[in-house]
Subunit: 278 residues, 3 copies
Amino acid sequence: MPIITLTTDFGEKDHFAGAIKGAIYSELPEVKIVDISHSVAPFNIGEAAYIIQNAYKSFPKGSIHIIGIDSELNPDNKHIAISLDDHYFICANNGIMSMICQEIAPYKIVEINIHDKIETSFPVLDVFVKVACHIARGGTLEVIGKVINSIKPIKNLIPFVNDEKTQIIGNVIYIDNYGNVVTNISQAFFESIQKTRAYEISARNYKFKTIHNKYSDIVNFSIPEERRNDEGRRLVVFNASGYLEIAVYKSNTETVGSASSLMGLSLMDTVTVSFSKT
Amino acid sequence: MPIITLTTDFGEKDHFAGAIKGAIYSELPEVKIVDISHSVAPFNIGEAAYIIQNAYKSFPKGSIHIIGIDSELNPDNKHIAISLDDHYFICANNGIMSMICQEIAPYKIVEINIHDKIETSFPVLDVFVKVACHIARGGTLEVIGKVINSIKPIKNLIPFVNDEKTQIIGNVIYIDNYGNVVTNISQAFFESIQKTRAYEISARNYKFKTIHNKYSDIVNFSIPEERRNDEGRRLVVFNASGYLEIAVYKSNTETVGSASSLMGLSLMDTVTVSFSKT
Amino acid sequence: MPIITLTTDFGEKDHFAGAIKGAIYSELPEVKIVDISHSVAPFNIGEAAYIIQNAYKSFPKGSIHIIGIDSELNPDNKHIAISLDDHYFICANNGIMSMICQEIAPYKIVEINIHDKIETSFPVLDVFVKVACHIARGGTLEVIGKVINSIKPIKNLIPFVNDEKTQIIGNVIYIDNYGNVVTNISQAFFESIQKTRAYEISARNYKFKTIHNKYSDIVNFSIPEERRNDEGRRLVVFNASGYLEIAVYKSNTETVGSASSLMGLSLMDTVTVSFSKT
């Protein structure tokens, strides 16, 4: 029996996520349900795209991922199911899947068409759960939808590169629990433009000339621990998901501060990489 | 093996919810435990009542619902177990169950009396878990308590209607993750008073003459998406749980604002429906 | 199949906790995973120590506890696995386990040495999960690490007692979801110093002469409920975990206030117990 995961903007308090789990177990008592996140900012497609992209790969092949963000059915916002990379995704056609689909071509996309049998103002509960349980029982996508060829794109997904290829202009797409600031500049993309040139990264007035592989690379371990003063230092890493991230060492937004709070960086802000001429 | 659900005000951080799951699995390794919510505001009986009422119905018959809000045992606050609608509920006798019991008559209520065998300052862990596991193993309520006939009521549960039946005066009973404001005016109650009359809904200085069935009903889809300006618009719906709700389209308390933040509506505030004479 | 629990500072929003569950289920489809907490304050070793100490005891013998706080591998911060009290703990050697180890001697400690086979900047996902699954399958600690004899201590774990034994000077080590303030003064420690003497507890300008066993001990139940005014009253209890706690009756940081907010008590603040001469 495959795993069903949940990624929503329902929050931790309301009854929505609990109700959905109850509905799934009512249909499939033996299935495993895993919460990926219910704390996506309301209606924030970009955050949801980043979270599901980085979580789904750790799950077994055949897993079914319900994404409940901005899922009210209307003429602009159809429901879709996608099979891709041996995983299934059920969501609204609102751009959430375009980040993953840009990296890996979908195997099949259907626009869900079982709504004539279901009257609902809570489609994640009444439609997505039905589709997920259908797939979990081995059902095919064609039974619950009609095949389509493309999905709605998300904006600002790919960083801008100037014609001379001397600059990458990226955006902040996610701010994590540590207040670290994740950009849309992936390591693969960065290296394809960089070749072997030196670089300087700019975010607001802050400049960086090194991208680290892990946070504690900035620590000088030859100095005894009690005399070091690394907490709160700014740095740039390629994070565990492979994106350029502006971080603060051992940050805590509530106490020492974080990259977001100390440097004033917010979602959609610009981060620029400038390459030297040679 | 039935499902055991948890609804508490323990929050997401403390060890309480984890300890309870450990205790349940220690007794019943094969049971399924589902978190409904641990983010009920501390000691907020009304919020807990709304959450459990709207979540429990999605679970399979026979499910056992532990509600850990204000559960310290004292002369005013006994522990009860209720069988109702083929579900079981274990909680303090503090009003939490009166919202459900008003809609559906309980089949049986017992006041739990196993405390002489248990010395505890953490009754959800030491008493409610024992009762839940007893029921999950097929045990009867009479073994763990003595039958009683009524439970403590909750205040402000039912909206006020004037003698002429020209006005319903309701209250805000819940504010959801989107900052939408839920009242205690159910669709069934509203329609039983309305008959066929026109109506006007007032909350603070705001007036509404339409109740929608879903949020995007206010959108004019004939205008192209990029030229519409619907985010942040106020509206009234009967929500998926069947209650009159004052909402803001695609709200986010942190960014565009929400019904609660933009209109200054808080828990217990008044919402009035006035009916025309004919 | 044993239970694997998770205690981290990953927060509720990011993909980290979801990814870890996916990775565990990919290796062990039948295992049970239980979230203890993902809301430990970032890099807060003391909070994590308190949470895991109070949660683990409720789990069945043989359970495996992954603790993902400050776990980046570097010369100062090795990875360890500990068997203790018939439970297993996997974490960084950064002091988290010293609170438990002070109470119960570890049976075995190993420094994990499987890193040469794993390139990672997300060690909880890539190392801790591997170790946990190894143990869950019945593997021994020696296969994944080399035995060591001691672990890094945590600071301020034990309260100070003056030479005359007339004073205990403790610290606030945890503030719970109700804003109650937990000190490092355990009931056993308190009683070992107190003998039969009277005492006075001081926190900031507040003094207390009684330690209660439960919160509602301060309520006078002979007065009718509607005339009592106990909400918001300050008191001291030994909490369910056995630590001296300064509390506010039916507190809520957002509304009536809490011990932390009303009395201005923060992590690491001093709480003093003074004993009378006889």
